[in-house]
């Protein structure tokens, strides 16, 4: 057995630097022993791969493709929220009334909340101070004015895997960020 034998498997795996790989390649073209070893290593690598791949045919790997979405917990939570939102949002539209007890504040351009965009309502200064400027505001959001909220339109396909949501339905996510950028909560609506 020549000295090149120890490099053969790394050579098969493409793990050698270019200069060493070139040296091995040149050597095996002239060394019958190393060529035979190389063939043997390739064979046993292929056999092991087939042997190992048989595990993939077990019920483990082929079972329940629907579980593909179970790892994202907020998807399940969001799905429930969607159902609730679809039920509750129309009711909220019907019952929402501007409050006469709230003080006048700056126009919605300065404090962009969904509640401020739909009605020329007043807001308490405290509530206004607690709101941070938002970038994009949905037109039909129904977030209560007293709750600090950022409402940002997010395309459904950016949030969910393909097929997770019904076709032709666009959702808006209302995101409440806690201090320090903790995990947001989602409320999706149609």
């Amino acid at each position: 057995m020549c000295n090149f034998d120890k490099y053969l498997i790394a050579f098969v795996d493409g793990e050698l630097p270019d200069n060493e790989a070139a040296a091995v390649e040149q050597h095996i073209s002239a060394c019958d022993d190393c060529r035979a070893c190389l063939a043997s290593y390739e064979n046993v690598s292929r056999d092991f791969a087939a042997y190992y791949a048989s595990v993939a045919q077990s019920p483990v790997a082929s079972s329940d493709s629907n579980s593909a979405f179970r790892w994202v917990p907020y998807i399940a939570a969001a799905a429930a929220a969607i159902v609730i939102a679809l039920i509750l949002v129309p009711c909220a539209h019907q019952t929402a009334q501007p409050s006469a007890q709230l003080a006048k504040v700056a126009p919605p351009a300065a404090v962009e909340t969904a509640a401020a965009t739909t009605e020329p309502v007043a807001q308490t200064p405290v509530a206004a101070k607690r709101r941070a400027p938002s970038r994009r505001i949905p037109q039909n959001a129904t977030q209560p004015p007293s709750e600090p909220v950022v409402q940002i339109v997010i395309p459904a396909d950016a949030m969910f895997p393909p097929g997770a949501l019904p076709d032709g339905v666009v959702y808006v996510a209302n995101l409440n960020y806690a201090n320090g950028g903790a995990m947001p909560g989602y409320r999706l609506q149609q």
């Binding site: 120890k6 498997i9 790394a10 795996d13 793990e15 070893c37 043997s40 290593y41 064979n43 046993v44 690598s45 056999d47 092991f48 791969a49 087939a50 042997y51 190992y52 791949a53 048989s54 595990v55 993939a56 045919q57 077990s58 019920p59 483990v60 790997a61 079972s63 579980s67 593909a68 179970r70 790892w71 994202v72 917990p73 607690r130 709101r131 941070a132 400027p133 938002s134 970038r135 709750e147 600090p148 950022v150 940002i152 997010i154 950016a158 949030m159 895997p161 995101l175 409440n176 960020y177 806690a178 201090n179 320090g180 950028g181 903790a182 995990m183 947001p184 909560g185």
Partner: protein, 179 residues
């Protein structure tokens, strides 16, 4: 959910990108992970649990601005370490789940070929079962297409050690199976 200051500088687009990235990774790596965990000897439900735990960890990792140069090896490493939590079943079943002897001959045509394929499969099966756990893990990860550097990250050992283990294990199997 409450909080007075709203950190819009937290890049939502990145969150969406990471979510999409995590979903893509899940679709790409779920089967290889299940295969690897089965190879480690985990029962089907255990393997499913570990995969889900692993991707929950990945989601949190990405959400917390965690960056990793190689997500694939990160995911395999987390899954590998979590599989260790099932140490009892892992130790009991390690080597039992890799069983090809009954399937190897299915493609052979003649009785002689079937007998030969069965014999070769049984020889390989015995050889694989005789390997040390780390030797088998290296070969399984290698069969999944991981580079030596990635295998080293998964198993927490030096890359040079992976190279040595792979080389000696392949030689060992070659001697036992192709003599």
């Amino acid at each position: 959910m409450s909080g007075d200051s709203l950190s819009l500088s937290l890049p939502l687009s990145r969150f969406a990108t990471d979510t999409r990235e995590a979903t893509t990774l899940y679709q790409e790596l779920r089967q290889p992970l299940l295969r690897y965990l089965s190879g480690l000897g985990l029962a089907p439900d255990e393997a499913q649990d570990v995969v889900q735990d692993t991707f929950l960890a990945l989601h949190k990792h990405l959400a917390n601005d965690g960056r990793q140069s190689n997500i694939r090896s990160w995911v395999f490493r987390v899954a590998h370490n979590r599989a260790r939590n099932h140490q009892q079943s892992y130790a009991q079943r390690m080597g039992d789940s890799l069983d090809l002897a009954g399937d190897a001959a299915s493609g052979a045509a003649s009785p002689e070929q079937i007998a030969l394929a069965n014999e070769q499969a049984q020889r390989l099966d015995r050889a694989v079962r005789s390997l040390a756990a780390q030797e088998r893990e290296c070969l399984m990860l290698r069969a999944e297409g991981l580079r030596y550097r990635e295998i080293a990250e998964v198993l927490g050992i030096p890359t040079s050690t992976v190279a040595d283990i792979v080389a000696q294990t392949i030689k060992k199997l070659a001697e036992k199976c192709h003599v």
